[in-house]
């Protein structure tokens, strides 16, 4: 998956949960990524955040830190 597509998909998730209070939103984004993204995709996202996470919604950046190592 291209970086652009990954960023777009992750940001879509963040936008859905952005209507919730921050803690709920962070939990929602992290839970969604954990439940529905395959490990390779999550790993790529985690690496991307580690490299700066350019273009990512801030909810994604913060939620990724809650993901277990995969």
């Amino acid at each position: 998956m291209s970086v652009e597509k990954m960023v777009h998909m992750a940001n879509q998730i963040a936008l859905f949960f952005s209507g919730y209070p921050r803690e709920e939103a962070l939990a929602g984004v992290a839970d969604h990524l954990q439940k529905f993204w395959e490990a390779r995709m999550r790993r790529k996202l985690i690496d991307y955040v580690s490299a700066g996470g350019s273009g990512l919604h801030e909810l994604v950046r913060d939620a990724v830190s809650r993901l277990p190592v995969c």
């Binding site: 998956m1 998909m9 936008l15 859905f16």
Partner: protein
């Protein structure tokens, strides 16, 4: 089983509240009040002669054959129109009645061809039967008088003929068209002797007739009869099975001579169709034995090589060897599989078991990914389970019907007929759709409100409807308080009440007038039982899941859940979309919608399957293709799914498949995906195997083998052989054993077995100890998840935007006579109605571009370009164009994009920014496609296999 004639009780059962006891020929019988004497007699086992009466239609009283005598009353009333009354003593036989009936029959026969022995209906003709029953021995009038015997035959319809010389003008066909189908295409033209059945146009094909077959079904003579019966004669045996087209799941009798199907007739006991059918299920079954069927396994090293026919054994061994080679080289997770919504529950269950247990990954997905995956996500989040809430019959108690993003008369025609019956009886209708579908205004049906929204603004509109409910105090507070999670409700109420969600605020974006939207919202909230029916116009959006939750919010807020007549009802596209999802086809969950990370569930499966399972979600279809392009996904087993034609951005799909080292396609035909396949495994049609389908109302119905598999193996046997070759043992003797395993491992299916299905006809899940005979309406006492959960559904416009380069919005869909990628219907005479995909465009948009009706136009998006013919129609709103995806040469998914639903990756087929301009030739992609198709045909020919 041998042919069994269904008992015809003459008229429908009475709908009165009490029970009436009477005597018919001295036999005591009790029937519901309002029941006709004709039916009461039939219940008592007394067959009164009849011709214009059938229990499929309301009584009519025209043929005068069913006359009876009633003690204490004068004359001989028609038993079909006379209600049974308490204490009545009815006599059905007397010299006077015999004389009267013979007189009637003499008149009929005096104007009827005496060709019984060569007539196609010989042996299945009610007129013939009645002549015998009344003892007709002569026709005193002779045959020389004026008659209709020279009336010309109408053979224009590809599936049935209309021979007016055999017509007795009983009006059954006209009434069936009205009462059963609701199209009102047929009428009686002329008066007296000149009365004839007319389809309106110059012939049937030119008329409004939708070829549902209801008229043919009720015709008591050979006037309307299937061409297959004319060609081949009457069937000798029948097998009751379930249709393999849409998600309505009609039961049919496959009628056969030996192993040749000669007719499919809708089964009266079908609880989803009640004896009705549509043009696809009733007539478009010829594909099952089409010459294009591939019935021998084939392999090739490269996709540019010719195919080589091999034995099943070699094909399976080769496939297993390739998959193991790929896993050895690229890792366990480098292969996966795709289940099909066209296959049975047992087959989809086996494929996902193969992937999880034999492949060792969770890289399994299903074609529901591209249609109703947001339904699964949204309804599970709100209610706790991924399924529609009602049975189809529930619509009969609906007072308000809200249809959103669905076109039932085309895509779910048999249910549409049921819905239209309810609408004709007084229910109110709201339609929300960018395209003016037929339901908005058709014979005796008119929407109270039609909201023609702009594609991509569903969520804005549903929020605005909810805004009206909340701000005008239309919330069912008692229901919410008792049944819903109050914290989530308060959160949602605050959100949706904000001014930015008001009808006035969203009018500019959605294109829906605020006044109409407010009125529609009030009707939904206050009009009595309100039911939502929706289709892919809801799900195939970047906010598909959000919209599903938005509808769930609305239904909960207004208390429209948990009883008949209400609910949130997805109309599933394919026959077994519900079932394929139920069976654990998604990469993140086992059967029964239990996440793979749930340890207790996983341990149960590990114990049953004797293997260690992964607790991480696998790849979805688009993720598999992305991973293939990246080089980490190398092999795929695709059962009954044509990714290349049906998935978005065709060129990306093709690139993904081309990057794999072993693509295995199991299908009836060499579909578009097979162009990229290294192994082709012949599939078996629904006529060739045993199993079950689960329809849109969660109804599990039997699929029964009518003929042996043409390729020697049913699909489940092929999957089993592949698993065994991979070293993971599967040893089912019959699909019933697979269902037994499903029942053991899936709480909602715990009470399901083939024995029960054969006994009850069908059951709706949940079917378990709490509901041994199934569950027609869900969430009656409480939601599956406990309290219903409201979700905040912020409207977020799609990133697929119009611009000066792409100023129009394309939305796609399907039509009545073709079905999805057309693999089945394109191989039938249904092509007569839709031989190519066309682009519907509003006359203003066409005029601005210098486009005439029928002209070739280029349809261009950011993803690609195709050409097709333009059809000018005011069905479309300005700024929006529409086409279908039934024909591969059109390649409509060349222009659709990879934008997808945020939660499920369901593609956003319904919103693509496009430009349309006149064109002189096919697009480059289409030229390339044609060359590829020709090359493949040549390769196939060189193999000596044939094909198209």
């Amino acid at each position: 089983m041998p042919m069994i004639k269904e008992v015809d009780y003459g008229t429908p059962v009475g709908g009165g509240p009490g029970i009436v006891a009477l005597e018919v020929d001295g036999i005591s019988v009790s029937v519901p009040s309002g029941t006709s004497i004709l039916r009461a007699a039939a219940v008592a086992g007394v067959q009164i002669p009849k011709l214009c009466a059938t229990d499929k239609l309301e009584s009519f009283g025209s043929c005068r054959l069913c006359l009876v005598e009633i003690e204490g009353r004068r004359g001989a009333p028609a038993s079909c129109t006379t209600p049974a009354e308490p204490g009545m003593k009815v006599r059905t036989q007397s010299p006077k009645l015999s004389r009267l009936r013979r007189g009637v029959m003499e008149l009929y026969i005096s104007d009827h061809p005496l060709d019984c022995l060569t007539c196609a209906a010989n042996g299945d003709c009610e007129l013939q039967d009645m002549a015998g029953q009344v003892g007709l021995r002569e026709v005193r009038y002779g045959y020389e008088g004026r008659n209709h015997l020279d009336a010309g035959k109408d053979e224009s319809n590809p599936y049935f003929t209309f021979d007016p010389s055999k017509c007795i003008v009983c009006s059954r066909c006209v009434r069936a068209c009205e009462e059963v189908q609701g199209t009102f295409a047929l009428t009686i033209q002329g008066r007296g002797f000149n009365s004839v059945v007319s389809a309106g146009g110059k012939d049937f094909l030119d008329s409004e007739c939708v070829s549902c077959g209801a008229c043919v079904q009720v015709c008591p003579t050979a006037t309307l009869i299937e061409k297959t019966i004319i060609d081949r004669g009457q069937p000798e045996r029948q097998v009751v099975t379930t249709c393999a087209y849409c998600g309505v799941g009609c039961l049919f009798r496959a009628e056969l001579q030996g192993n040749e199907v000669v007719r499919m007739t809708p089964h009266d006991d079908g609880k989803a169709n009640h004896g009705h059918s549509c043009v696809k299920g009733r007539f478009a079954w010829g594909y099952a034995t089409h010459k294009d069927r591939i019935i021998a396994p084939m392999i090739r090293e490269k996709i540019t090589d010719p195919w080589r026919e091999v034995s099943w054994d070699e094909a399976i061994r080769h496939t297993a060897s390739e998959f193991r080679r790929i896993q050895a080289g690229y890792g366990r997770d480098s292969i996966g599989g795709i289940t099909s919504s066209r296959c049975t529950n047992e087959e989809t269950y086996l494929v996902q078991k193969l992937v999880r247990a034999a492949f060792g990954s969770n890289n399994v997905d299903t074609c529901a990914r591209v249609c109703h995956s947001p339904t699964g996500y949204g309804l599970k989040t709100a209610f706790g389970t991924s399924a529609g809430t009602q049975d189809f019959d529930s619509v009969e108690d609906a007072d308000v019907i809200l249809v959103i993003g669905a076109n039932p008369t085309d895509a779910h025609p048999v249910f549409a007929s049921q819905m239209k019956r309810r609408l004709r009886a007084g229910a109110r209708l709201i339609v929300i759709d960018p395209r003016r579908i037929d339901l908005v205004r058709s014979a005796h049906v008119e929407a109270s409100y039609y909201l023609p929204l702009r594609p991509g603004t569903n969520v804005a509109v549903i929020n605005a409807i909810a805004h009206v409910v909340v701000t005008e105090s239309l919330v069912d507070e008692a229901f919410v308080k008792e049944r819903c999670d109050l914290a989530s409700f308060e959160q949602w109420r605050t959100f949706v009440a904000q001014e930015r969600n008001s009808p006035e605020a969203v009018e500019a974006a959605s294109g829906v007038g605020a006044a109409d939207l407010r009125a529609a919202a009030r009707l939904y909230a206050t009009g009595g039982n309100a039911a939502i029916y929706y289709g892919l116009g809801v799900t195939e959006h970047s906010q598909g899941s959000t919209m599903v939750m938005g509808m769930a919010n609305l239904a909960m807020a207004t208390g429209n859940l948990g009883r008949r007549g209400v609910g949130v009802n997805p109309l599933r596209g394919q026959n077994n979309v519900q079932g394929s999802c139920d069976m654990g086809s998604f990469p993140h969950e086992f059967s029964g919608y239990r996440h793979v990370s749930d340890e207790a569930t996983r341990e149960m499966f590990e114990e049953a399957w004797r293997v260690t399972l992964q607790g991480e979600p696998g790849l979805r279809i688009p993720n598999m293709l992305d991973a293939a392009v990246e080089g980490t996904f190398k092999g795929i087993y695709i059962q009954g799914e044509d990714l290349v034609q049906s998935d978005p951005n065709t060129q990306h799909v093709a690139a993904g498949l081309a990057a794999m080292e072993c693509v295995v396609v199991q299908d009836l035909f060499l579909n578009e995906t097979a162009n990229y396949a290294h192994v082709f495994l012949p599939g078996s049609s629904f006529l060739e195997k045993d199993g079950t389908f689960t329809n849109a109302e969660r109804r599990i119905s039997r699929v029964r083998k009518a003929i042996p598999p043409l390729a020697g193996l049913a699909d489940w046997e092929v999957t089993m052989a592949l698993s065994n070759a991979l070293g993971y043992a599967m040893n089912y003797k019959h699909p019933s054993e697979i269902m037994d395993e499903i029942a053991r491992l899936t709480p909602t299916f715990a009470g399901v077995s083939f024995e029960k299905l054969d006994r009850l006809g069908s059951v709706q899940w949940p079917c378990n100890d709490k509901a041994p005979n199934g569950t027609p309406v869900m969430h009656m006492e409480g939601f599956v998840r406990g309290k219903g959960r409201f979700m905040i559904t912020e409207f977020i416009p799609t990133d697929e935007r119009t611009s000066s380069r792409f100023p129009l919005l394309l939305t796609t869909g399907r039509i009545l006579t073709q079905y999805n990628v057309g693999a089945q219907t394109r191989r039938t005479n249904n092509n007569i109605w839709h031989e190519e995909d066309v682009l519907e465009i509003h006359p203003h948009d066409a005029e601005n571009r210098g486009i005439r009706d029928g002209q070739l136009v280029a349809l261009i998006s950011r993803a690609g370009e195709i050409t097709l013919q333009a059809r000018l129609t005011e069905r479309m709103q300005p700024g929006v164009v529409y086409t279908t995806f039934h024909h591969p040469l059109t390649g409509v998914n060349v222009v659709t994009t990879e934008f997808s639903d945020w939660a499920t990756n369901c593609p956003e087929y319904k919103v693509t920014a496009v430009q349309v301009r006149p064109a002189a030739r096919m697009s480059e992609w289409q030229e390339r496609y044609r060359q590829t198709r020709d090359t493949n045909a040549r390769l196939l020919h060189e193999t000596g296999i044939g094909g198209d």
